[in-house]
C-alpha cells in the first residue's frame, strides 16, 4: 500500500484504537477480552457476507490478497468499540437513555464511515446505505452485550455499576 491519504488515515485509526485500550477500567481485562473476541466472531462472518454479495467494498485495505473486507474495522476498531459499549452501558437507567446510548454508537460509526466513503477509497458503498450500517452496528452491539451477560452470569440491572 502506497503512502497516501488512505494509508495515513488507516495508520491513525490503528493508533487511536490501540491507545483507547488504556481507557479500559482496571480489573475488567477479562470482560474486555471476552467482548473483543466475541464481537470478532460476529463481524468476521457478517463482514464476509456483505462483501461476498457485493453490497460494500474496501478498495484500500491492509491485506490485499487474503481478504476483501476491512481488517482494521472488523477485527480491531469495531470489537474495541464493543468493549466500551458494553462496559459503560447504562444498564440501570431508563429505556430511553439506553436507546439513545445505543443510537449514539450507531451514529458514531455511521458518520465517519459516510465521510470516508465520500472522500477516500477506504470504503465504497454499492447497494449498501448508511442506515444499513446504523442498523447492523446497533444490532450487533446489543447481541454481543447479550452474550456477555450470559457468559458472566450477570443480571442486566447490575452492569454499569462497577
Amino acid at each position: 500500500m502506497k503512502l497516501n491519504l488512505n494509508s495515513i488515515i488507516l495508520c491513525g485509526v490503528y493508533a487511536v484504537t490501540l491507545l483507547s485500550l488504556l481507557w479500559i477500567p482496571r480489573g475488567r481485562g477479562r470482560e474486555a477480552q471476552f467482548i473483543f473476541l466475541c464481537q470478532g466472531m460476529m463481524t468476521w462472518i457478517l463482514g464476509l457476507l456483505a462483501v461476498e454479495f457485493g453490497w460494500i467494498a474496501y478498495p484500500a485495505r491492509e491485506l490485499q490478497k487474503a481478504t476483501h473486507t476491512s481488517f482494521a474495522f472488523e477485527f480491531l476498531v469495531f470489537p474495541v468499540l464493543s468493549i466500551f459499549f458494553t462496559l459503560f452501558y447504562p444498564a440501570n437507567k431508563s429505556l430511553l437513555l439506553k436507546g439513545v446510548y445505543t443510537l449514539a454508537f450507531g451514529v458514531g460509526v455511521c458518520i465517519p464511515e459516510v465521510i470516508l466513503e465520500t472522500y477516500t477509497e477506504l470504503v465504497k458503498y454499492n447497494q449498501w446505505r448508511w442506515y444499513w450500517t446504523l442498523f447492523s452496528v446497533m444490532v450487533t452491539l446489543q447481541l454481543c452485550r447479550g452474550i456477555y451477560l450470559w457468559f458472566f452470569r450477570v443480571s442486566p440491572a447490575r452492569i454499569g455499576e462497577g
Binding site: 477479562r30 477480552q33 471476552f34 473476541l37 466475541c38 470478532g40 466472531m41 468476521w44 462472518i45 463482514g47 464476509l48 457476507l49 462483501v51 461476498e52 457485493g54 491485506l63 490485499q64 490478497k65 487474503a66 481478504t67 476483501h68 473486507t69 481488517f71 477485527f75 452474550i147 450470559w150 457468559f151
Partner: protein, 173 residues
C-alpha cells in the same frame, strides 16, 4: 458463493462435501463434549478463532498457501469454514483432553499428534482435492502455528479461570 474450478463438476463435489462435513462434525463435536461447560467451550472457541483468523490470513497473504476451492470465493482467499468452525472446534478438544498432570513425554506426544493430524489432513486435501495448494515449507509453518496457537489458548484458559493445571508442582514448604 461457491467457487468452482473444475469444469462440469456436479453440485456435490468432494470439496463441498468436505466443507459441509466440517460444519457438521464441528458443531456435533462441540455439542457432545461434556468435559467443559458451555461457557468454557464458548470462550475457548472464540479464543482459538483469534489465532485462526490472524494466522490464516497472514499465511495466505505471504503466499505459502492457497485455497483454490473455498466457500467465500469473492470476499476472502482463506477457507472460511475451516478457520471459523473446524479448527476452533479441534482447539476446544485440544484443551479439553490435554494431559496436564502427565509426564512430559505424553504431553509432547499429545502436542505432536495434533500438529501431525493437521499436516496429514492438509497433505491429503492437496493430493485428492482442490481445497488447498501450498509450498513445501507450509507443513512446517502449519505445525508451528498449531503448536503455538493451541498451547497459547491452553495457557489462556488457565489464566482466564485462575486455574493451575499447567503450573509445575510447587514444592511443599
Amino acid at each position: 458463493m461457491w467457487h468452482l474450478t473444475r469444469k462440469g463438476a456436479g453440485l456435490l463435489t468432494v470439496e463441498r462435501i468436505i466443507i459441509i462435513l466440517a460444519w457438521i462434525i464441528s458443531l456435533v463435536g462441540l455439542l457432545v463434549l461434556k468435559r467443559l461447560s458451555w461457557r468454557e467451550k464458548f470462550l475457548l472457541f472464540i479464543a482459538v478463532q483469534f489465532f485462526t483468523w490472524s494466522l490464516g490470513m497472514i499465511n495466505v497473504e505471504l503466499g505459502v498457501i492457497q485455497y483454490p476451492v473455498r466457500d467465500f470465493s469473492v470476499a476472502t482467499s482463506v477457507n472460511f469454514s475451516f478457520h471459523y468452525v473446524l479448527f476452533p472446534a479441534i482447539g476446544v478438544y485440544f484443551v479439553a483432553y490435554y494431559p496436564a498432570g502427565r509426564r512430559l513425554i505424553s504431553r509432547l506426544l499429545y502436542n505432536f499428534s495434533f500438529a501431525a493430524g493437521f499436516v496429514i489432513g492438509y497433505v491429503l486435501c492437496r493430493k485428492y482435492t482442490e481445497l488447498v495448494d501450498f509450498k513445501p515449507i507450509y507443513p512446517l509453518v502449519l505445525a508451528l502455528n498449531v503448536w503455538i496457537g493451541f498451547n497459547s489458548v491452553n495457557h489462556y484458559y488457565d489464566w482466564f479461570y485462575g486455574k493451575r493445571r499447567l503450573r509445575k508442582e510447587e514444592v511443599a514448604p
